[in-house]
Symmetry: C2
Subunit: 188 residues, 2 copies
């Protein structure tokens, strides 16, 4: 029996998630929820931008019958920590040696640049899923790489040299604010 | 002929927008775009949260076939200005004498409170459409009202006394940062 495309994709997705443990996004959402509940930081994931085409209003709750996913114009997560504006994009890659820059849209990179110029804290959280390694890469280091290199992918050695490994934790699971404390609030 | 509910709603929406000029959301988006293009501030509207139920993957671009609108857990707009975190909710009301608090969810009010406690700048932009008056109300004043009053709506006199009228402009159309300059950056 041939499954329609949708079903196959769903099966694949669930299977791959199972294989590599919890997905980065879920872990980050739990982390942000922990920060919020402990009054440490207010950071939320933005909803996925969706363009709604057709809506059925016949029932009490409007039902969307046709819509499609749009390209995000900003990064996924933003919020506030110790009075500072926080902004980051999180991505997973199955590559073992490099992170392909095609995973991040040009306007997302432009957005991170704008944020840094405004005095905000902008960065990436990149997980190499097959190695189970999660790195923090400061936005300034990402922009430096793009400025100086012609390569379309960032080698893992760049993350090892200029990024910071985030150790898995229980609660919070991905304690990226620890790295921000060291980078931005060391004297405090 | 009886139109289905959906069509009627669409007609009504377009008609009412026409009646009162450009909708507040559109004007705020133009304002934020102006701020961004002039490197004054980076403020974006968050996408509407939508829960996707059914997706058709048969074509190259995934098509959403079933979804519904979710309640937002945060405010609509956030970003950064002069290094400070900015967060606000914008709402219109056709009422002439008061703004009904039912227009703002409890967790949005809680969110504004969290933001203020973290050192961010949180506020409301409320337009009384029939009067064509748009007010800035600082988050602190909203929280004070909720704490001290049992009323389920904020009278326009409260906006006149504790808020700030935002004059219509051409570019930017709703220059709310002018008010923030006066409130938060006066000494600079």
């Amino acid at each position: 029996m041939n499954y329609p495309g949708g079903l196959k994709k769903t099966f694949k997705k669930i299977y791959s998630h199972k294989n590599r443990g919890m997905a980065l996004e879920e872990e980050l959402n739990l982390t942000c929820h922990y920060y919020l509940s402990k009054h440490i930081a207010v950071i939320h994931k933005k909803p996925t931008p969706i363009c709604v085409v057709k809506v059925d209003y016949t029932n009490k709750d409007a039902l969307i019958k046709e819509a499609f996913f749009e390209k995000p114009s900003t990064t996924d997560y933003n919020g506030i920590y110790k009075g500072r504006y926080i902004d980051f994009e999180a991505k997973e890659t199955t590559n073992q040696n490099y992170f392909p820059l095609s995973n991040i849209h040009d306007h997302q990179i432009k957005h991170l640049e704008d944020i840094i110029n405004m005095g905000g804290i902008g960065f990436l959280i990149i997980r190499f899923t097959t190695l189970n390694l999660t790195y923090y890469l400061d936005g300034s280091k990402l922009l430096e790489f793009i400025k100086n290199e012609n390569r379309k992918s960032v080698p893992i050695t760049y993350f090892q040299t200029f990024g910071y490994l985030i150790k898995d934790g229980l609660n919070p699971r991905i304690d990226f604010l620890k790295i921000i404390d060291n980078l931005y609030f060391k004297g405090e």
